[in-house]
Amino acid sequence: MAVVAQEPVITQTHADVTRDVVATLGKPSTGYVLAFFSAVGLFLAGALTLLVLLKDGLGHAGYQPPIFWSVYITTFVFWIGIGHAGTLISAILYLFRSPWRTAVYRSTEAMTVFAVMTAALFPIIHIGRQWLFYWLLPYPNQRFLWPNFKSPLVWDVFAITTYFTVSTTFLVYGLVPDVAAVRDKVGGWRKLVYRFASAGWLGTDNQWRHYSRAYLYLAALATPLVLSVHSVVSWDFASSIVPGWHGTIFAPYFVAGAIYSGIGMVLTLIIPLRRVLKLEHMITDYHFDNLAKLTLLTGSILFYAYGMEYFIAWYSGNTFEQTTFWRRAFGPYWWAGWSMIICNAFVSQLLWFKKIRVNRTSLFVISIFINIGMWFERFVIIVSSLSNDYMPWAWDQLNPTWADWGILAGSFGWFGMWFLLFARTFPIVAIQEIKEMIPLPRKRGGHH
C-alpha cells in the first residue's frame, strides 16, 4: 500500500475549473441557509451577553482571586491558534512548492482572517472597559504616557494587528484575479459588484509580472510572521513567573499547537463545505491525506511537548513547578487536563493509519476532538496554572459562568457567519492557481 499520496492527474480543462468554481456562488442550498442562520443565532446570543457585560461589568464572568485570566483569554488564544493554518498553507507551503495547497489554501486563508478577527475581540472584551482599548496603542495623549514596549502584552498588540493586516492583504490580493474571472462569467448587478472588486484586473502580462513577484515577497514576509505570532502570544505567559507558564519551550510548543488546531478547524470546515458546494472532484483524498499528515506531525510535536513539560517539571526539582503539573493531572482541573492530553496527544496518533487519513467521517470526528482538545489545552495552561500560585492559602478554583459560555458560543457564531458569507460571495477554491497546474492544450501536442 502506498504511504505517500500521489498527486492526482487533473482531468478538467481550464473552462471546467472556472465553471465549477463560479457555480459555487449560485443559489444557496437549504443546508447552507440553515448553517448560516444557526451561526447568526449564536452570534446574537454572544452579542446579548456582551451587552450585559458592558452594562454590569466583568463580575458576571466568574473571576475570583487568584484567577483573573480565564475563558476570554483561553478563547482568544484558541482563535489565534486557529488562525495559523491559513498562512502556513498559503505562504510556507507556497515557498516549499507543495502542489496540494492549491485546492485548499483559499478556504484556509479565509478561515485565518475570520479567526484572527474573532480572536481580536477577546482582549477587548477581557479588559472590562472595552471603550478604552485604544490605550494599548502608541498615540500622543493627554496623559503624556507611552505603552510599555518591554511588555509582551504590547508586543502582542503589534503582532496581532500585523498578522491580521498581512493575512487579510494576502487573502484579498490572491482573490483579485479570481474575482476578475467571476466578473467575466456572471451578469446583471453581480457583474457590477465583481467588476468593482476586481480593481481593473485583466490578466495582462504586465499585471502578472508584478503580481507574481509581489506574491512571492508577501509569502516570504508572511512565513516568519506565522511563526512569530504565536511565539509572541506564548511570551505573554512564558515571560511571567507563574509556575506552568515560565518555560523556554513555550514558543515552539504554542506554534505547533496553533498549526495543529488550525488544521483541525480546516478539516471541520472543508469536509462539509466541499459537499455543500459540490467540490468533491477538486478537494480529494490527496488533499485530506496531506492535511492529515500535517496534523499528525504537529500532534506528535505536541505529544512531545506535553511529555517534556512533565519531565522538566520533575527534573527541575522545583516544588512549585512539580505541584502545578501534579495538579494538572490529578487536581481539581483533572478533567480539563485529561481532555487536553487525550484529544491532542493520543487522538492525533490515529492518523498513522492511511485508512483513517482518507476516510472523511473519521477525519471529521478527529477534527472535532482536536478543536475541543486545543480549547482545553489553553484552559489548562491559563486557568489551572493560575489556580495554584506560590501561596497555597490563596489557591482557588474558577467555574465558568453563563457569561463565559455565552461569549464563547457567540465567537463561534461570529466566525461561522463571516466564513459562510465569504464562501458564497468569493471563489473558495483558487481558480488561477488550479489553472496553473493544468497544462494548456498545444498544437504540437505533448506537454512543456
Partner: protein, 173 residues
C-alpha cells in the same frame, strides 16, 4: 465613474493553444513589433519566456517598505522610552532586545503593504488603458494584442492566423 479611456488601435488574437500563442509572440517580436499586451488567466512561464519579461521592480517597494518599518519601529520605541523613562525588570531604558518584536512586526507590515502598493501602482495605475479585451481571457483563452494602424492590420491578421489563432479582432478608434 471616470471617462472611458481612448481605444488603442490594433489587432487582438485569441488562442486556445499555448504554443500557438508563443509562436505568434515570437514572430511579432522578430518583426519589430513592440507594446504587445498578452492576456492569460494565470501566470505562465512560456509566455514570459516568449516576451522576455524583465524582473518586476516591485522588490524595491518591498525593500523600502521593510526598511522604513524597521527604522520606524526602533526609533519609535527608543524615543518613547527616553521620553517617558520607566525601569521595568531591571532592563535598560532603551532595551533593544525587547524592541526587536515591534521592530520585526513593523518590518513585515510595511514591507507587505508597500509590495501591494507597488503592484497597484505598477500594474493597475500605470498599466496601459483602452486595450481591447475579451472575457474569455480569464477563462481558457490566451489573448495577444498588438498596437497597429489600419494599414498593418491585414498582415498582422495573417500572421496570427498562421500561428494558430482561433479568432482575430480589430480595434479601431
Amino acid at each position: 465613474m471616470g471617462r472611458r479611456p481612448k481605444v488603442v488601435p490594433g489587432v487582438l488574437a485569441s488562442f486556445e493553444q499555448i504554443d500557438a500563442a508563443t509562436d505568434a509572440i515570437k514572430a511579432l517580436r522578430a518583426g519589430g513589433h513592440r507594446g504587445l499586451v498578452v492576456y492569460c488567466s494565470h501566470p505562465n512561464h512560456e509566455l514570459e519566456e516568449a516576451l522576455e519579461t524583465p524582473v518586476s521592480p516591485v522588490r524595491l517597494f518591498t525593500l523600502i517598505g521593510g526598511l522604513t518599518g524597521c527604522t520606524a519601529a526602533f526609533s519609535m520605541t527608543i524615543w518613547m522610552n527616553l521620553d517617558w523613562p520607566t525601569l521595568v525588570g531591571g532592563k535598560a531604558i532603551a532595551a533593544i532586545p525587547a524592541f526587536v518584536v515591534p521592530g520585526f512586526e513593523l518590518t513585515v507590515l510595511l514591507g507587505a503593504l508597500a509590495s501591494v502598493l507597488g503592484v497597484i501602482l505598477l500594474s493597475l495605475l500605470l498599466g496601459q488603458r483602452g486595450v481591447m479585451y475579451d472575457p474569455r481571457f480569464s477563462d481558457d483563452r490566451i489573448g495577444v494584442f498588438v498596437p497597429a494602424g489600419a494599414a498593418d492590420a491585414p498582415a498582422l491578421e495573417r500572421l496570427f492566423r498562421d500561428a494558430g489563432a482561433v479568432e482575430v479582432r480589430h480595434a479601431t478608434p
